[in-house]
């Protein structure tokens, strides 16, 4: 890493403004001049000693007091060299603009649109710079700027664009969609368009049963073939990132449940890990084991849910009922563990909420005894079924280069033959203490991704079984009185605990002034949280790098040339959950 920084300084002596190595959190960040960003990015992508082929995330931070108000933050990741780098560029307030890196990483397309949408920073050279999460005619400004109030701009009933029952309905002036709007959904001039004279723009969603949430895609069609697919996101946008700026670190945990509501535990885990990294807390070993067990249970649940719904989308009904049967067993265990089934709020900063009791261990073992059999049963239904093969083999092909370039992670990346799993590459929890393998596909088609998820379920079961065997005794919460509330029994007996309890719940915890990015392998891919802390009890900026959002960026690329019915398969193969995609 040091050699790389020296190299950078030698190559761009005037453009590298500062470098910062955070040894405790193992993070490196480089501040560069915004004008030279494109050159530096290209060097970092192309040079073999840097090889930052994977763009994890782009986000922006607003510092209204500073002269250069906005900071655009790029999180780069090198898959061959296994290193991460944070690139930061400052730009001034009036007419904020920076060069677009879509020419280098195609995945930057959606990420830059999000920054534009939320912070109002223009990216020169971006092919399609429109609002992405908010409506196109949103006129209230840019919500993640600090001058936009965290509590919003009033109540729903006061907004005049929401029709109210006591008002006469508005006259619809123009029912036809303007040519200009249609143009955004047409293919770019120069690319081969439909062979037919008559073009067809088909609106799919937002209320389509197989879009797994509320997602609209405008398809440009040639007969039944997709020529261009334009996803229209944001129907489920709740502004979680803005919301986080008004919540203390602990209060944010239940809100992360609602990101990917199918796999709430994974979100909890990703978030508390990021906060723990910020606070530099180590978690007791029993808690690490419990966390790993629960995260793998959640992975099995997530994949069962995915298998059931994808099979249902493609036309196999039985699988859906069977996977939900097993999912139910695990959800019952979650209910026993933390009292809820979907919105779990189980992980705590520094540990977990309740202990994994011997009764649960027993129930889990009983489940693991039958589970491999059940997976075989699903396989017997579809793995060699000719309809399933026909609908998944060679559908939605994604080459390894494209998958990396689009920033794909998780099963989508592994399906294309890239053996990258954060649990192996940067082990957390107790993943380095158990034996398991990373399944990798060959062709990068839907069938490979299906196979990978099936295999991951088996591996998860293997991990859980080993964790249950090794499960040590001990506390489940770390001890750090200034950050972690004391145990409840002590609160009314011990004066010091009482004081800490009051301070933590009224004022929140005050982390050091720092910033950190922490990524976790969620069932859908890399779920990362980037936290900027200014030393106050609320995050200054919290950015969620959600795998579904990044994967949707590759949607157009994957859908082109396939049939309308395959579009459904592609939604399914990403395993998108719109709650996480739109945040």
């Amino acid at each position: 890493m040091k050699a790389l920084l020296d190299n950078l300084k030698a190559q761009f002596p005037d453009a590298i403004l500062a470098t910062r190595v955070d040894a405790a959190r193992a993070e490196t960040s480089v501040s560069v001049a915004a004008a030279r960003l494109l050159d530096i990015a290209r060097y970092l992508h192309d040079a073999p000693e840097a090889a930052f082929d994977h763009l994890t995330d782009i986000c922006s931070v607003d510092y209204p007091e500073d002269q250069m108000r906005f900071e655009v933050v790029y999180h780069l990741h090198s898959l061959p060299l296994q290193q991460r780098l944070r690139l930061k560029a400052r730009i001034a307030e009036e007419d904020p603009a920076i060069a677009s890196v879509t020419g280098i990483w195609k995945g930057a397309n959606f990420l830059e649109r999000e920054v534009y949408d939320m912070m109002g920073i223009r990216f020169s050279g971006h092919p399609d710079l429109r609002r992405i999460l908010l409506p196109e005619d949103y006129a209230e400004g840019y919500p993640l700027r600090k001058d936009f109030p965290a509590e919003g701009r009033g109540w729903r009933s006061q907004f005049d664009f929401i029709p109210r029952f006591d008002e006469a309905p508005m006259d619809v002036v123009e029912s036809e969609i303007s040519e200009e709007t249609k143009d955004t959904f047409r293919t770019e001039p120069g690319t081969p368009g439909p062979g037919r004279k008559e073009e067809l723009l088909l609106n799919m969603g937002p209320q389509h049963p197989s879009t797994h949430g509320v997602l609209r895609v405008v398809l440009m069609l040639d007969g039944e073939r997709v020529v261009k697919a334009t996803p229209d996101l944001g129907y489920l946008h709740r502004g979680v990132e803005k919301l986080a700026e008004g919540l203390t670190y602990m209060q944010m945990i239940p809100h992360t449940d609602r990101l990917d509501y199918v796999c709430a535990m994974s979100n909890n885990y990703a978030y508390v890990r990021a906060v723990e990294k910020l606070l530099e807390i180590t978690v007791p070993i029993r808690a690490e084991y419990v966390r790993t067990i629960v995260a793998e249970m959640q992975r099995i649940i997530g994949h069962l849910f995915w298998l059931g719904t994808q099979a249902l989308d493609i036309g196999a009904m039985t699988v859906f009922f069977w996977t939900f049967r097993e999912r139910e067993v695990l959800l019952d265990m979650f209910e026993k563990l933390c009292g809820a089934r979907l919105t779990l709020n189980y992980y705590r900063i520094g540990g977990v909420d309740s202990d994994f009791t011997p009764e649960l261990v027993q129930r889990m073992r009983a489940f693991l005894d039958i589970f491999p059999e059940k997976v075989k049963e699903y396989d017997s239904l579809i793995a060699s079924n000719r309809i399933w093969l026909g609908r998944t083999k060679n559908v939605a092909l994604l080459s390894a280069e494209d998958a990396i370039n689009f920033g794909c992670t998780g099963p989508v990346l592994r399906g294309s033959g890239v053996a990258y799993d954060i649990r192996k590459a940067e082990p957390y929890g107790v993943y380095d203490k158990v034996e398991w393998e990373v399944p990798v596909g060959k062709n990068g088609d839907t069938y490979d991704r299906y196979w990978i998820r099936m295999e991951e379920m088996r591996q998860s079961a293997r991990i859980i079984a080993q964790c249950l065997d090794q499960l040590p005794e001990g506390p489940i919460m770390a001890e750090a009185p200034q950050y972690i509330p004391p145990p409840k029994e002590l609160v009314m007996r011990d004066m010091e605990s009482l004081i800490h309890h009051f301070i933590i719940y009224t004022q929140g915890i005050k982390p050091p002034k720092a910033e950190t990015y922490c990524s976790t392998e969620a069932p859908k891919g890399e779920l990362g949280f980037f936290i900027v802390s200014d030393g106050s009890p609320r995050p200054y900026r919290l950015k969620i790098r959600s795998p579904s959002f990044v994967h949707m960026g590759a949607f157009d690329h994957m859908a082109r040339g396939y049939l309308i019915s395959d579009v459904i398969t592609i939604f399914g193969t990403y395993d998108v959950v719109m709650g996480e995609c739109d945040r």
Binding site: P254, E335, G339, S354, S384, K488, M492
Partner: protein, 179 residues
């Protein structure tokens, strides 16, 4: 295509395998769904359902009006108006206590925050109403939920740990629930 594969294709072998799996379920038919309003699931004790306020075994409210639950709640469900217990200047209680259950996330942070365990999450979940305003609960309603859900009550805190007696409240203005 090998001969074996060809035979498999024309005999629809994989469909036969799939049908075998389905048929075996038909034989060992055991429903796993429930006829919900008629049958109900047994919920675990720590189920995070409707919130309630609790009392001690002598009928005093536990709540000392400390406002911690209000501070801990991520979606501003709770509003506490705290006051001195008349005639006892060292003790406080919550004069008014409101919960807007339309916004509750059922996260349980308020229960974690309460120092005297005055809040409890019950196993009630059938709280759909026709009028949203009915979900804006006041203290009497919350205590009533607690009374019906937690029949076994704790001893007064000052009897449990004498050194913290002065944190406690003893305000008996509410009628005791008939046992």
């Amino acid at each position: 295509m090998t001969f074996k594969a060809w035979i498999r294709t024309i005999t629809f072998y994989e469909l036969v395998v799939g049908m075998k799996a389905t048929m075996s379920h038909l034989l060992h038919y055991k429903p796993i769904t429930m006829q919900y309003p008629h049958e109900k699931r047994a919920l675990p004790d720590n189920y995070r359902g409707m919130l309630s306020l609790l009392r001690y075994d002598d009928g005093t409210e536990k709540c000392v009006g400390c406002d911690l639950c209000e501070a801990a709640c991520p979606s501003r469900v709770i509003r506490v108006v705290s006051a001195e217990v008349p005639g006892e200047p060292t003790k406080r209680y919550s004069k008014e206590y409101y919960m807007d259950m339309t916004r509750c996330l059922f996260c349980g942070l308020c229960v974690d925050a309460c120092p005297v365990d005055a809040l409890g999450m019950t196993r009630e979940y059938e709280w759909s109403v026709y009028d949203k305003r009915q979900l804006h609960l006041n203290k009497e309603q919350l205590l009533a939920i607690g009374d019906r859900s937690f029949p076994v009550r704790e001893k007064q805190l000052e009897l449990q740990h004498p050194n913290v007696a002065f944190f406690n409240v003893a305000f008996k203005h509410l009628p005791q629930k008939p046992d």
